[in-house]
């Protein structure tokens, strides 16, 4: 499964297409975040909501094949408050599940930046993406998903925005800035456009939405466990008072 006709001296063409969809009963903020991402990826196709259940992987894989895509971004909202993001290479994997934190959509942030719809972003990565194999894998997937293919029919021929992907504290932070032309590259400034989010990788799987686990975040506690712990703590306080 070699794409792009890279070998044999033929010219490389980036043909990645990304299916973007979300789970049912997603809350409006997270749905807006998804729509923001859709507006940033001219090479994506948006699909209807998918029920978030055990068999969603099979459904999503089918959808991706049906829509002729090579990647899938699935925004999965649980309990109206926890957002998970799946990045999956279809059909043969790998796939990653992230917990999404610190979400700000383009609408709620009163940011003054703006840029052409469909202009190709410059992708900047912090150097620590190169330090471990799992970060290197994530970097490659992000490059293929978030980069707009050269000469894509919906892309524009100029460069006016830049994505920052930065690993701090083992989380991937995302920012999107407009490049403001003020005469020359030395005078250039950036204005943030949004959205903002922060990704905490939970697991990497060998297949698409499943398969053997290749990586597990050793520090991860699920939001459910955190809430349970908090409840316990509160209950403990009361028990002490009663005594």
């Amino acid at each position: 499964e070699k794409r792009g006709g890279g070998g044999g001296g033929s010219v490389f063409r980036n043909k990645e297409k990304v299916l973007v969809t979300c789970s049912r009963r997603i809350n409006s903020r997270y749905r807006h975040l998804m729509l923001n991402v859709v507006s940033l990826l001219p090479h994506c196709k948006k699909d209807n909501k998918v029920e978030s259940k055990e068999s969603k992987g099979a459904t999503l894989n089918e959808l991706v094949e049906l829509r002729n895509c090579s990647y899938c971004l699935f925004f999965e909202c649980r309990k109206q408050k926890d957002l998970y993001l799946w990045m999956a290479r279809c059909p043969n994997g790998p796939s990653v599940k992230f917990l999404v934190n610190a979400v700000h959509t383009m609408e709620e942030l009163k940011l003054t930046g703006n840029h052409l719809k469909g202009s190709r972003p410059i992708l900047t990565f912090s150097m620590n993406f190169n330090k471990d194999p799992h970060w290197m894998l994530l970097k490659e997937m992000i490059t293929q998903i978030f980069g707009t293919p050269k000469d894509h029919r919906k892309s524009k021929p100029f460069y006016d925005h830049v994505f920052a992907f930065s690993i701090i504290d083992d989380h991937i932070w995302f920012r999107n800035y407009q490049v403001v032309n003020q005469g020359g590259i030395e005078e250039t400034t950036l204005v943030e456009v949004g959205p903002r989010f922060c990704l905490n990788p939970i697991k990497i799987f060998g297949g698409s939405f499943g398969g053997p686990t290749l990586y597990e975040n050793p520090f991860y506690i699920s939001p459910n466990q955190i809430r349970a712990l908090e409840k316990k703590k509160k209950a403990g306080k009361f028990a002490k008072k009663v005594k």
Binding site: L99, V162, T213
Partner: protein, 122 residues
């Protein structure tokens, strides 16, 4: 973001956590674009940050992102210029923007309102 529950992490890394180094590298080789792909297809720039960033200091953290993006832009500009391809759009090039005019008008309105408030306070 303040309403979101604080994220808690384990103090000690779990010893059971799987890390299949070979498996990950194999997958990476599987999905990689060919080695000889020209940079113009990827548009990626690596940024070498000088020091560790304190994640809880909002200003330092945002500045780090800004610096990364700005230096990345400068490097990308040089590379794109050297290919003889225009970087900035000409001033008379109009096309659909990612935020609509209506949205930008709201943003502007809010800015003006804030400015007015400050002036009144003075």
């Amino acid at each position: 973001a303040d309403s979101e529950p604080e994220e808690v992490l384990l103090d000690e890394p779990s010893k059971k956590a799987i890390y299949n180094r070979e498996g990950i590298i194999e997958k990476l080789e599987d999905i990689c674009w060919p080695d000889n792909v020209q940079w113009v297809h990827k548009l990626t720039i690596d940024h070498n940050e000088e020091q560790e960033v304190d994640v809880n200091d909002d200003i330092v953290r945002e500045l780090a992102f800004y610096t990364q993006a700005l230096e990345g832009t400068r490097q990308a500009f040089a590379k794109i210029q050297s290919l003889g391809v225009p970087f900035f759009r000409p001033p008379d090039y109009y096309a659909e923007m990612v935020k609509t005019d209506g949205h930008m008008l709201k943003v502007k309105g809010r800015l003006l309102e804030e400015k007015k408030k400050i002036e009144e306070a003075e």
